[in-house]
Amino acid sequence: MKQKFDIIESTCVPLPLENIDTDQIIPARVLKATTRDESFFGENLFRDWRYDSQDRPKADFVFNQPDFSAAPCEGVHQVLVAGKNFGCGSSREHAAWAIAGYGFRVVVSSFFADIHKNNELNNFVLPVVVSEEFLSELFDSIAADSQARVRVDVPAQTITNLATGTQESFEINSYKKYCLMNAVDDIDYLLEQKDKIEAFENNRYETQNC
């Protein structure tokens, strides 16, 4: 879903676990859909942590706790905060569709797996990489007050823990920043490069072109 980014200020949903893999974000058996229905994938986000085998909500999972169960909307629960190496494992973009479909706009972690990070960006979900210290303080702030908020300023490339005032800059290259702020995707860009692609093909060595 192409959505323009500017400044997001919201409460958070915490998942203080490391190495959350894409099989947990969305299990393989839910990947059989042939359409890109984000609401379907959103309903199945963290399927096996969220529901038991009889589809009953598991009370101990954060999405089912009273403080965090409200569906994301403007200013509420738009930010997922997760332990390091978020999104490792499978390349399934369904994981990013599920995160977007649930309503998250930003995922904060100290470390993201590469493929998943690209998948989030391609679906207009912003992965924000912060330091271990910032992440740990943010988890503490949310544990102390479930209403703790963060401010993610895309133009300024900063994230602020509004409970403590701690601020960090985050990296994003200027091309991707432009795409996010203007809701433009990579295919729009590539379709304009056809001449360069043909010139490249014509200049290759024969042996490279099997």
């Binding site: 490391e18 947990q24 299990p27 390091k84 494992g89 056809k194």
Partner: protein
């Protein structure tokens, strides 16, 4: 600088965006049924067709049942995905190795086997185990569905250039130690995020001595270290493997290609962003005890104690052991198991079946163990029969199934029941990966065979001559 990764990557750069990614030309795009339908929909909604259809190859593998493939797939949802791929390939004029086609199988087994994946190429697929094709000396990596659509539309992808890492394994591998053990050992040491942000070149005498099948297993597991991909410089082993394969160059084209492929090696002055060296003699048969592939131990070693971890890592370790039903500090040897899975893009090749058969020969599958032996492709299935391995395995009480991804991710009917223990030659032991509640222990085909014939976790070396 001057690494083989630089050479291949840089020779495919079409355009560089200032303070942005590069536009990289892609030689091969492989599509399977799970991660492609939305990309085809994207093309249709933009009113465009693939720019270079001859560079795109499609085959179903994730949903395929491992029996009765000549009949209609029973699960209607799986059937629709497989049929959607066929219809999309037909609509856009793409090569499609469909069900029951003698060329069908798991994409990462079929690509090298058909000679489609060649040295020096850039190869992508909407599947993280695309890193497998790096064994041919190619830059191969997994991508998301938006990126699949990108490549269909433009034969290019926008990517940041990863950093380069060289992992060398020097010396001779010990008895019962396979490529799978080497990969699990590396992951145990550098963790599942140790190579995130990097492309890995595997080198050293132990790597060079691996067969093509072993190299494919090692490169397959690159993603489990977090790497975008991993590859091995092509050499005589590579050329011997490729010669005569269906899509490999022929005649004079072959000679020219080999001349070029021989230049594909890192310079003696190559500088990597990171270098790690391991001693082959330190590596034992490995097995995992936890819920990510980096949670491995030598088979005769104990699970780490709880005080080895702190903070979020301790919480993850405790959650993992609770899921697996294991105690910190305990040994896995002698632990009863329920299922054995031989197969997947990791270990579904002929050499893996040969290894399994060496342990199974003259023994019998243990009572109470369910074993699924799933070749990676019809070609592997054919070789198994040609070499008579099917007879050895059948005499030992094992049945060979039909090819596909199968119980690696349980998208078909091959699901491990909740709470059951599965010794699996696949690539991931994540919670629920082999079925909701399934408990997976990753290991080599030798270790899987040792578990299958004894019914408990067993050091395969104790069953080898």
């Amino acid at each position: 600088m001057n690494t083989l990764f630089d050479k291949i990557w840089d020779s495919h750069v079409v355009n560089t965006i200032t303070d942005g990614p590069v536009q990289l030309y892609i030689d091969r795009l492989y599509c399977h049924e799970v991660t492609s339908p939305q990309a085809f929909d994207g093309l249709r909604s933009r009113g465009i067709s693939p720019l270079r259809p001859e560079r795109i190859f499609c085959m179903p593998d994730h949903n395929t049942p491992t029996h009765d493939q000549d009949k209609e797939i029973e699960d209607p949802v799986s059937r629709r995905q497989v049929e959607t791929l066929k219809a999309n390939a037909e609509e856009f004029g793409l090569m499609h190795f469909g069900m029951m086609d003698s060329r069908n199988g798991i994409i990462h087994v079929v690509g090298p086997e058909r000679g489609l994946s060649l040295p020096g190429m850039t190869i992508v697929c909407g599947d993280s185990h695309t890193s497998t094709h790096g064994a041919m000396g190619a830059v191969a990596f997994g991508i998301g569905t938006s990126e699949v659509e990108m490549v269909m539309a433009s034969q290019c992808i926008l990517q940041q250039k990863p950093k380069s890492m060289r992992i060398s394994v020097e010396g001779q591998l010990g008895k019962g130690v396979t490529a799978k053990d080497v990969a699990l050992y590396i992951m145990k040491n550098i963790t599942t995020s140790g190579a995130t942000g990097y492309f890995v070149e595997y080198a050293g005498s132990a790597v060079r001595s691996l067969s093509m099948e072993g190299r494919l297993t090692l490169c397959n597991l690159s993603i489990e270290m977090g790497a975008r991909g991993g590859f091995i410089a092509p050499d005589q082993t590579t050329f011997d493997y490729l010669k005569g394969r269906e899509y490999a160059p022929k005649g004079e084209d072959w000679d020219r290609a080999v001349e070029y492929w021989k230049t594909l090696r890192s310079g003696d002055d190559a500088v990597f962003d990171k270098e790690i060296v391991f001693d082959a003699s330190d590596i034992c048969p490995m097995i995992t005890y936890g819920t990510n592939p980096g949670m491995g131990i030598a088979i005769d070693e104990n699970i780490p104690s709880a005080d080895s971890f702190s903070g979020e890592a301790a919480a993850s370790f405790a959650k993992s052991l609770d899921y697996m039903g294991f105690d910190a500090g305990s040994s896995l040897l002698g632990k009863k198991i329920d299922y054995v899975f031989l197969g997947a893009c990791t270990n579904g090749r002929i050499e893996d079946f040969r290894a399994f058969a060496t342990i199974a020969a003259g023994r019998h599958k243990a009572e109470g163990v369910t074993a699924w032996l799933v070749p990676g492709s019809w070609e592997v299935s054919r070789q198994i029969r040609e070499e008579g391995l099917d007879k050895i395995l059948e005499a030992a009480g094992f049945e060979i199934r039909q090819p596909g991804c199968s119980a690696c991710l349980a998208m078909n009917d091959d699901k491990i029941p909740a709470g059951k223990y599965s010794v699996s030659t696949s690539n991931r032991n994540f919670e629920g990966r082999q079925g909701p509640g399934a408990r997976t222990l990753l290991a080599s085909p030798l270790t899987a065979a040792a578990a299958a014939v004894t019914g408990v976790i067993t050091d395969p070396r104790s069953l080898m001559d």
